[in-house]
Amino acid sequence: MIKKSFFSLCLWVVWSSSQLQAQQPLWQLQSESGLTLSLFSQLEPIEINRIHSWELLIEDSAGNPVTAATINVEGGMPEHDHGLPTSPRVTSEIEAGRYLLEGVRFHMQGLWQIIFTIDTGNAVEELMLDFDL
């Protein structure tokens, strides 16, 4: 059975800094079941009006990479009642559990909300990222 959970927990928010090591995620989210989503941006610091890619590392509660997941990305600015200016899509799995998300762009400063729907094959989980740009 597909288990659908809606749980957003921003474990820690590490604001973009070029000082960060390449492997340090910009944000890390965890679902109730222990699924961890680590987010890396190819553009740091993230700027408005510049299209770029993110990498998403998905691991299960035991820290093992989750492969062959189907990931949907939606989002917008709840305070402005509009969505993302683009339709970012996961276009490939770069390595086990690590996915390339292309077409990310933000066109306003302020609070953004992004919802990742991850179908692992065993369950569908939603993780929500809130961040200020």
Partner: protein, 425 residues
């Protein structure tokens, strides 16, 4: 009775006084405000973004060729119109009209070309994804240049100087079909009928020349860059270690206007970055142009862009598919109904009237429109009423005037080339 008159006078005077009360001028900026203000300065304008779909975008000879073509009225069916007929250099590359007028009556207000090369999308509804592709459409529009791609290819072929310049930049001109009439897949019925009689290789040869003409026009238009206004000098003087607002360059009411711009008036939401535009599409509830149906805006525009044979993914583009990220990941959802592109505010005081249909004649009307944020006739107005007083709107306008400046582009690009190429001989 006398009491009522006196009461009304007092109330009326109160409302007038309230309306005339300007916003206070802040003494200090916060660190965040200084960061926001500096983000709008031309000092933070990045280098021109590459256009991988146009390998000639930064080619000097292509830009010079594009300048010749831009001012050449032979690129029209009647011989009367060039790109400069509507995008007039002396009017900041606009025409001062509500709706464009060339071979016929236009349906859209002529947008300025200044700084446009930073945008991933062109036209008010974003129906084009590159500057070179954009440059092609008006040439064949019946109400604009009203010519056709075969006629343009023939012009290049028949003008010795154009032919030599073309060869230098793009290589040999392909052999054109022996057809002494106009031909194009769009435009007039006869022209389309002629196009359909050509075989694919002939069509391809014409398209190749036509797309190269667009690429030269884009190489020229890329160079139209805004110049520094008083605002930019002010922004550069701000210092977080001494965050006073009165650092010179701007008057008190202009500083108050800037404070509103980045704050309560929320202009910066869409008019952000050094060009004061996010290059995106928004429904701002502006009235429909008289006599027109409510436009679908970006909702239709993105679909037109995807189907365009001259888009980034098309065979006349120089880009790899992987480089066409804006087109491949373009959003097309229902909330784009009625959405139009945010224009730059650089030199905005010099480019009246405003909006995609020139619906608002003055900056005062624009500011009143956003202050009221009327309900949109189609879809929803993203803007919300601001409830600013008239004096505050005046302050905002004062700030907008500080964004005017001569272009950074060298003046020789802002006129027809001094050395004119020989006409058909």
């Amino acid at each position: 009775m006398r009491f009522i008159v006196i009461a009304l006078l007092i109330i009326g005077s109160g409302i007038t006084a309230w309306n005339l009360r300007p916003a206070p001028v802040p003494d200090y900026w916060t660190e965040q405000e200084i960061a926001l203000i500096k983000s709008l300065s031309l000092s933070n304008l990045p280098p021109l973004p590459a256009d991988p779909s146009n390998q000639y975008a930064d080619n000097e000879n292509a830009a010079k060729f594009g300048q010749q073509l831009y001012f050449d009225t032979r690129l029209s069916g009647s011989g009367n119109f060039s790109c400069a007929s509507c995008h007039k250099p002396e009017l900041n590359f606009t025409d001062g009209l509500e709706l464009a007028v060339a071979a016929g009556a236009g349906t859209r207000h002529t947008p300025s070309l200044i700084g446009l090369s930073y945008s991933p999308w062109y036209y008010w509804d974003g129906r084009k994804d590159s500057q070179w592709s954009q440059a092609l459409a008006p040439l064949e529009a019946i109400n604009e240049h009203d010519t056709n791609r075969l006629a343009i290819a023939r012009l290049i072929e028949s003008d010795p100087a154009y032919l030599e310049t073309y060869r230098t930049i793009f290589g040999e001109l392909p052999e054109l079909p022996a057809l002494n009439v106009g031909a194009a897949p769009v435009g007039r019925n006869e022209t389309m009928s002629n196009w359909n009689k050509l075989d694919p290789s002939e069509q391809d040869a014409i398209n190749r020349v036509f797309s190269n003409v667009g690429k030269a026009l884009a190489a020229y238009q890329r160079r139209l860059i805004p110049g520094r206004g008083r605002f930019d000098d002010y922004a550069d003087l701000l210092d977080t270690s001494d965050p006073r607002t009165d650092v010179g360059e701007l008057e008190a009411n202009e500083i108050a206007g800037l404070n509103l711009f980045i704050g309560r008036a929320q202009c910066i939401n869409c008019h952000n970055g050094p060009l004061l535009t996010n290059h995106e599409f928004h429904n701002n509830g502006v009235l429909v142009v008289s006599g027109q149906l409510p436009p679908m805006g970006r909702y239709d525009g993105v679909r037109i862009a995807r189907d365009d044979p001259f888009n980034c993914l098309g065979e006349y583009s120089d880009a790899e598919a992987s480089e066409c990220v804006e087109l491949r990941f373009a959003r097309d959802s229902n909330d784009l109904v009625g959405a139009h592109k945010t224009p730059t505010l650089r030199n905005i005081a010099e480019t009246a009237p405003y909006m995609h249909g020139g619906q608002l004649a003055t900056l005062d009307e624009v500011l009143r429109h956003y202050n009221e944020a009327p309900v949109s006739m189609l879809s929803h107005n993203e803007a919300k009423p601001l409830d600013l007083r008239q004096a505050e709107l005046d302050q905002l306008k004062s700030f907008l005037l500080t964004l005017s400046a001569p272009l950074a582009t060298d003046s020789h690009w802002l006129q027809a080339p001094l050395v004119t190429l020989p006409a058909n001989q």
